[in-house]
C-alpha cells in the first residue's frame, strides 16, 4: 500500500506540473462549455409588456385574468400601468419590451358584435415583439372563435357570469379556474432538445464526461511511457510488489481525474452559474464510475500490443464518436440515430447528470447510475484480465 501511495503521489505531482496537460484537460472543456452553452442557449426570455386595461366592461375581468395566467409567465411579464401615456413612454424608454392598451370601449364593441381591437406598441426587440404578439394572437384567435360560436348559437347577449371558465368573454375565471384560452408553447420545445435543462447545463455535463473519458488513456499512456523511457524497469527492480507500483501509476491518473472533475464542477457552478442540481454526492459517483470505465476501456485496448499511436487513435475516435452519438456535440443527435446513443458510455453518464439537474426522481437517477456502474464493472473486468499483457516486463 505504501508503494502504491508513494507512486500515486509522485505521478500526480508530475501531472500537475504539466501545464499543457492541465490546459487541455481543464481549460479546453471549460472553453467549450462556455462557447456552446452561451451560443446555443435559445431559451426565450419573457417580454416585459406594459399593460393598460382602460376597459372596465364585462370582458375586463376576463382580460385581466388572461394576462395574470401563470402559464404566460415564460413568455410575457405584464406590468400594469395607469395610462396609455405611461405605456408608450415605457416602451420608448426601453423599460418595457412591448405595450398593450385595452381601450375603454372594447367590451362594449365586442358584445355589440362590432369590430374591436387593442392598441399595441411594439418595442425594439423583434424576438420580444414576437413573444408578446403570439400571446395576443392566441387570445384574439380564441376570442374570435368563441364569438363565432355564440353567433351561430344565436345568443343575443353574452353574460360573463354564465361562462366562468372563459376569460375571452367575461369575468368569473376566479382563482384556480382554468382559462378557456390556452396559451401554446411558443418556443416549440427548445428546452426539450436539451432534455429540459438549459444549453449551458447540457454542454457542461456533456464536456465534463467527454474529458473525464480521456483520462483513461492518460493512465494507460503513463504505463506505456514508463516502459518506453526505462523507468518501469527500475520500478520493477525495487523491493515492493509490482502490482502496487502499477496500482500507484493508475491511481495517480485517477487523482488527476478527480482534480479535473472538481475544477470543472466548481468553475462552472460559480463562474458560469450552472445549476448541477445539488446532489454532489451522486455527481461524484457518476464521475467516479465514468473515470473507472474509461480506464478499463483504455487498458483493454492497450493490451492488444498495438503501437501507442494506434491505441491513442482508437481511443480518441471512440471517445469522440460516443460523445457525438450521445448528443454531446449536437443536441438531439441521439434520436436521429434511432436510439444508438443508449449504447454509449456517455449516454448514461450524461443522462444521470441531467436527471439530477432537472430534478428527476431519485429512482430514475439511481437506475441510470446502475446501468453506468454495470458498464464500468464489465470494462474493468476485461481490463483486469488483460492487464498483465500491458504491464509485464518483456525485456
Amino acid at each position: 500500500m505504501h508503494a502504491m501511495w508513494v507512486t500515486a503521489l509522485y505521478e500526480f505531482k508530475k501531472y500537475i506540473r504539466n501545464r499543457s496537460l492541465l490546459l487541455l484537460m481543464i481549460g479546453l472543456p471549460l472553453l467549450l462549455i462556455f462557447i456552446l452553452g452561451s451560443a446555443l442557449d435559445i431559451q426565450i426570455k419573457p417580454a416585459k409588456v406594459a399593460l393598460y386595461l382602460e376597459d372596465q366592461g364585462e370582458l375586463a375581468e376576463g382580460i385581466g385574468s388572461f394576462w395574470d395566467d401563470p402559464a404566460l409567465t415564460p413568455y410575457v411579464m405584464p406590468m400594469k400601468e395607469d395610462s396609455q401615456q405611461q405605456v408608450e413612454s415605457l416602451v420608448k424608454a426601453g423599460k418595457a419590451d412591448y405595450g398593450v392598451v385595452v381601450p375603454a370601449h372594447f367590451s362594449e364593441e365586442v358584445i355589440a358584435g362590432q369590430s374591436a381591437e387593442w392598441i399595441v406598441f411594439p418595442g425594439r426587440n423583434a424576438d420580444k415583439n414576437m413573444a408578446a404578439e403570439a400571446v395576443i394572437d392566441h387570445y384574439m384567435t380564441d376570442a374570435n372563435l368563441e364569438l363565432a360560436k355564440l353567433a351561430l348559437a344565436g345568443a343575443a347577449s353574452v353574460s360573463a357570469k354564465h361562462e366562468p371558465d372563459n376569460p375571452a368573454v367575461g369575468e368569473g375565471v376566479g382563482e384556480g379556474a382554468d382559462s378557456y384560452v390556452k396559451v401554446g408553447t411558443l418556443s416549440a420545445g427548445s428546452n426539450q432538445i436539451f432534455d429540459s435543462v438549459s444549453a449551458v447545463q447540457y454542454y457542461a455535463a456533456a464536456y465534463l464526461i467527454m474529458f473525464l473519458l480521456y483520462n483513461g488513456m492518460i493512465a494507460a499512456d503513463a504505463v506505456l511511457d514508463q516502459r518506453r523511457e526505462g523507468t518501469l524497469q527500475r520500478l520493477y527492480a525495487v523491493p515492493v510488489s509490482f502490482r502496487g507500483i502499477i496500482a500507484g501509476i493508475i491511481c495517480g491518473a485517477f487523482m488527476l481525474s478527480i482534480f479535473q472533475a472538481a475544477a470543472i464542477l466548481l468553475f462552472t457552478t460559480y463562474v458560469y452559474g450552472v445549476d448541477w442540481g445539488g446532489s454532489f454526492g451522486l455527481i461524484g459517483l457518476i464521475c467516479l464510475l465514468t473515470i473507472v470505465a474509461s480506464m478499463g476501456f483504455a487498458f483493454f485496448i492497450t493490451s492488444f500490443k498495438l503501437s501507442r499511436k494506434t491505441v491513442n487513435s482508437i481511443f480518441t475516435f471512440a471517445v469522440f464518436s460516443m460523445t457525438f452519438m450521445s448528443g454531446g456535440m449536437m443536441a438531439g443527435v441521439g434520436s436521429l440515430l434511432g436510439g444508438a446513443d443508449r449504447f454509449t458510455l456517455n449516454y448514461w453518464s450524461n443522462a444521470s447528470l441531467r436527471s439530477i439537474m432537472n430534478g428527476s426522481d431519485t429512482d430514475t437517477v439511481i437506475g441510470q447510475i446502475i446501468v453506468l456502474a454495470i458498464i464500468a464493472f464489465v470494462l474493468v473486468l476485461l481490463a483486469a484480465v488483460r492487464l498483465p499483457k500491458v504491464v509485464k516486463y518483456n525485456g
Binding site: 505531482k13 523511457e229 523491493p239
Partner: protein
C-alpha cells in the same frame, strides 16, 4: 558461498534460447565485467538477476536468497543502474532520488541523509533541485547511478553506464565504481567498452549465444586463450637481410614482413626474453630502427577471437 550464483539458468523467447544453461558465480567484493556481443544474453541474464524476468529453468541466488522464491529479499540487496536513463524529467534530481529511496524503504532523516550522500557522491549536490532535462548526458548518467545506491546495496548492477557521455563524466563514473567497490559493494559491470572493463574489473566473463565462454581474471583469460605478443619493428630500410636470422630465433613463432620490408612483425611467446636478441640481429645487419611497438594480448583481441569478427544485429 558466492554472493551471486547462476545455476544452469535457461531463458527462452518462443523457440529461441536466449540464455543457455548459464552457470556463473560472482564473489563478494568483486567488480565483475560481463562482456558479449549484441544478442549474447547479457541483458537477459541481468534482467533475470534483478527480477525483471523469470528464468525458465535453473536457479539464481543473491546472498543465498532465490530470485524466484524470495524476490523481495533479493531486490533489497540489489541496486540496478539500467542502460536507459530511468529518471523522471518532470521531477528534480532530489525528487527523483527521494521517490526511489521511499520505494527502497528509507524514511525521514535517514532518507534525507542518504539522498544528500548520494548526491555528493555523484557530484550533483549543487544541482539537486534542478530537473534532469537541464542536465548534460553525463550528469543524467550520474543521477541514474545515484538513484540506485541510496539504500547501500550489496550488489550493484550497471548496464552500460557510460554510453554516450563525455570522457570526463566517464572517468568520474569509473572512479565512482571503484569507490563503491571499496565501500563494500560488489559490482556487475556490463559494457562494450573493453578498456573500461580492463581498467576496473577484477574478473571478466565473456558470453555469446546465451552461453558463458570464459570467466576469470584478464591474465587468466589471456593465458588460457594462448594469445601471443607481437613486436613491430619499423626500420629505415628493407629488413630483408635480417628476416632469416630473426625467423630462426627459438623465441619467434612467426615473422611477417611488409611488402617494402620496412616493417617486420614478430609473433613471440615472451617478448621480455627475446627483445634484446632481435634488436641485436637488426644492429648486426646495420638496420637502423625507427620505431618499436609492443602489442600485448588484450581483452578486445581475446573477445574477437572468442566471439568472431562478424557483425551482430540484435
Amino acid at each position: 558461498m558466492s554472493l551471486v550464483a547462476f545455476k544452469q539458468v535457461v531463458k527462452k523467447y518462443d523457440t529461441a534460447i536466449t540464455v543457455n544453461h548459464l552457470t556463473l558465480d560472482i564473489e563478494e567484493g568483486e567488480i565483475f565485467g560481463l562482456l558479449g556481443p549484441n544478442g549474447a544474453g547479457k541483458s537477459t541474464s541481468i534482467h533475470m538477476l534483478s527480477g525483471l524476468l523469470a528464468p525458465d529453468r535453473g536457479e539464481i541466488t543473491v546472498d543465498g536468497y532465490s530470485i524466484v522464491k524470495q524476490p523481495l529479499e533479493v531486490k533489497k540487496r540489489i541496486g540496478l543502474v539500467p542502460q536507459e536513463l530511468a529518471i523522471y524529467d518532470a521531477l528534480s534530481a532530489r525528487e527523483n532520488m527521494t521517490f526511489f529511496a521511499k520505494l527502497y524503504g528509507l524514511r525521514g532523516k535517514l532518507l534525507r541523509e542518504r539522498v544528500d550522500e548520494a548526491l555528493q557522491f555523484v557530484g550533483l549536490y549543487d544541482r539537486a533541485n534542478d530537473k534532469p532535462k537541464t542536465f548534460s548526458g553525463g550528469m543524467k548518467r550520474r543521477l541514474n547511478i545515484a538513484c540506485a545506491i541510496m539504500h547501500r546495496p550489496k550488489l550493484i548492477i550497471m548496464d552500460e553506464p557510460t554510453v554516450g557521455i563525455d570522457p570526463q563524466s566517464r572517468n568520474h563514473i569509473l572512479e565512482s565504481v571503484r569507490e563503491l567497490n571499496r565501500l563494500g559493494s560488489t559490482v556487475i559491470y556490463v559494457s562494450h567498452y573493453m578498456e573500461e572493463v580492463e581498467a576496473i574489473c577484477s574478473k571478466v566473463g565473456i558470453m555469446d549465444k546465451g552461453q558463458l565462454l570464459a570467466v576469470g581474471t584478464k591474465e587468466q583469460l589471456i593465458k588460457q586463450s594462448g594469445q601471443e605478443e607481437r613486436l613491430l619493428f619499423e626500420i629505415a630500410q628493407s629488413g630483408e637481410p635480417s628476416i632469416a636470422e630473426m625467423s630462426a630465433h627459438p623465441g619467434v613463432i612467426r615473422l611477417d614482413a611488409s611488402e617494402d620490408g620496412h616493417t617486420l612483425e614478430a609473433t613471440v611467446k615472451q617478448s621480455n626474453t627475446i627483445l634484446q636478441d632481435l634488436l641485436f640481429i637488426l644492429q648486426k645487419h646495420e638496420l637502423p630502427l625507427r620505431k618499436l611497438t609492443r602489442v600485448e594480448p588484450n581483452l578486445e583481441s581475446l573477445f574477437l577471437q572468442m566471439t568472431g569478427r562478424m557483425l551482430r544485429d540484435e
